[in-house]
């Protein structure tokens, strides 16, 4: 490279500066949300950076404030955690099982199933929402946890990711384990899973995040207050509670923070996994 040492340093500092400014702009909406959830109500949505703070918005969520209507925020939060964790666990489990069959077990019809998964994955899913809703209603699962979990227990994208990953694992490993008398369940659990740690983090976080923020499906299959997930509850409060922006921001923080914390905990692993997947 031509140019003196100080020139390079200057260029680098400019890059860092731009990166920091960009990052602040990108993360600003979150900052705005957190600050507003903590701001004195006279300043919510009136000041870019509030100066007076209070916990009233959070208190309001739990007590219902002067409207006297206690909205089940905590319950909805619990519902979200429960439904998302179970759904995601099932999606992971089935994805790993199916992917193992589609990549490592030789059986008649495997190629057809593989092609069908691809077709299914790229099929525009909007056609399915009305009949799927009707199925849930017909079998009497409307307004139950099952309605939130069962139709969201399979992820084609998850199957696709794991199939591709497992294909890259040499067959020799599996044959060696088989000679030692290991069953396929054991191979899956003891060999394939430990090898796919990085991709597991990525798939898990993506699936959990998607399930956690799902709106349309959750909105149509449950009705009663006790069944709502936090995202749906927040969406329902959106219009009528416009005069209470503070508590709305507090609800938004409740919805956003857990997933971000989880993500930051797994951040390093996630990035490694992403790099791997993108190559």
């Amino acid at each position: 490279m031509v140019g003196s040492n100080s020139n390079i340093k200057l260029r680098l500092s400019i890059r860092y500066l731009i990166a920091i400014v960009l990052l602040v702009i990108m993360v600003f909406p979150y900052l705005y949300m957190v600050l507003n959830s903590l701001a004195d109500w006279s300043q919510v949505d009136r000041k870019l950076i509030p100066t007076k703070f209070t916990l009233r918005s959070y208190q309001w969520l739990f007590t219902g404030g002067e409207t006297g209507i206690t909205r089940p925020w905590i319950h909805a939060f619990f519902n979200s955690v429960f439904v998302s964790l179970i759904s995601t666990a099932l999606m992971m489990m089935f994805a790993i099982m199916v992917a193992y069959a589609l990549s490592k077990l030789k059986f008649r019809g495997r190629d057809s199933i593989n092609n069908f998964v691809l077709f299914h994955m790229f099929f525009p899913a909007i056609i399915l929402i009305i009949p799927n809703f009707l199925i849930i209603q017909k079998v009497g699962l409307f307004d139950t946890y099952w309605a939130l979990i069962i139709p969201k227990a399979m992820s084609l994208w998850g199957i696709f990711m794991y199939t591709n990953f497992f294909k890259a694992v040499p067959d020799a490993f599996i044959e060696a384990a088989k000679l030692d008398g290991a069953s396929d369940f054991k191979i899956l659990y003891k060999i394939m899973m430990p090898m796919s740690k990085s991709i597991t983090t990525v798939v898990f976080l993506f699936l959990l995040m998607e399930r956690w923020t799902e709106l349309l499906w959750d909105m149509i299959v449950v009705r009663s207050d006790g069944m709502l997930t936090l995202n749906v509850l927040l969406s329902q409060m959106f219009g009528p509670y416009q005069s209470y922006p503070g508590p709305m921001y507090a609800g938004a923080v409740m919805l956003t923070l857990p997933i971000i914390i989880l993500f930051i905990i797994f951040g390093k692993k996630f990035q490694e996994g992403m790099q791997f997947n993108l190559k």
Partner: protein
């Protein structure tokens, strides 16, 4: 051995086979059937009406707008998100330290729920908000962001861009990093000017990654629902009425299940054909320039 494996294979694949039968193939046929009926989602009886739903749908402003709004979103959203993520990727790529911190930071918006993003934007653009007050009092601009056809579309597209930039930047960064530095040095010797570096070297070698982000971002425009539902309800005057929004309104608000099924099928066909054409165009563009 062979037989045993056969059984095990089907056993392991069975969760998917059952699921796709119940929640994909069955519903697909049911949906096709419903689209030819006038069912209202509640009454026990309904009639077979042939192609009436389809012909009716073609003539309504809701469906027409849904068709065009998707492409309008593309025109606004795809260039913005591509430019932003490219810029982020180029800036972050050369950083010796804290690169992953930056990348993860940029990725955070992707984790936001559309409801939360809409809530923040609505507050941010409300009449008394600091931004609006500033625009009004200092610059004399009184903009009703969600009330104008283009501005409402623009606001939703910007939320989407905010959300996806970090994700696509991650893809583009790893694309950039797979480019060998020696290529640049060799090009410098061959007399490629600094100003041509991006167009002559980076872009061609980055094409596979750009192709991925473009396909993803085009695809994303077909699934817009939450932000629109939350912020505009498809308005003003259908300016942000996406396919999903139209299907939701017809099926679950107006309770026209048969009619909505017909719209869903039209949406799926439009999506399928559009994505196919876009892919072909992108591939041709790459081939023509010798990038693939």
């Amino acid at each position: 051995m062979e037989k045993n494996n056969n059984r095990l294979g089907w056993l392991f694949a069975s969760p998917y086979l059952i699921f796709s039968t119940v929640f994909f193939l069955g519903p697909l046929i049911w949906s096709l059937y419903l689209s030819f009926t006038n069912w209202d989602l509640i009454s026990p009886t309904y009639d077979f009406v042939g192609f009436k739903n389809f012909t009716k749908a073609l003539g309504t402003p809701g469906v027409r707008s849904a068709f065009w709004v998707t492409y309008k979103f593309m025109i606004v959203f795809v260039p913005i998100v591509t430019a932003m993520s490219l810029f982020v990727a180029v800036i972050v790529k050369g950083l010796p330290k804290l690169k992953s911190v930056f990348l993860i930071g940029f990725f955070l918006p992707y984790l936001s729920s559309g409801v939360v993003a809409s809530l923040i934007v609505k507050g941010f653009l409300s009449h008394t908000s600091p931004v609006q007050t500033f625009l009004r009092e200092r610059l004399g601009l009184d903009i009703d962001w969600l009330g104008g056809s283009f501005s409402a579309l623009f606001v939703v597209a910007m939320i989407m861009a905010w959300k996806f930039t970090g994700y696509y930047a991650l893809i583009l960064t790893s694309g950039l990093e797979s480019i060998d530095q020696e290529v640049y040095e060799a090009a410098a010797i061959d007399g490629v000017k600094d100003s041509q570096r991006f167009w002559k070297i980076t872009l061609p070698l980055l094409y596979p990654a750009i192709y991925t982000t473009l396909i993803l971002s085009f695809g994303a425009t077909f699934g817009i629902f939450t932000e629109v539902y939350q912020l505009t309800g498809g308005g003003p005057n259908y300016a942000t009425n996406t396919w999903q929004m139209e299907i939701y309104s017809q099926a679950f608000k107006n309770l026209q299940a048969g009619y909505a099924s017909a719209i869903a099928i039209m949406a799926a066909v439009a999506t399928f054909i559009s994505i196919f054409v876009i892919r072909k165009i992108l591939e041709m563009w790459g081939k023509r320039n010798g990038w693939v």
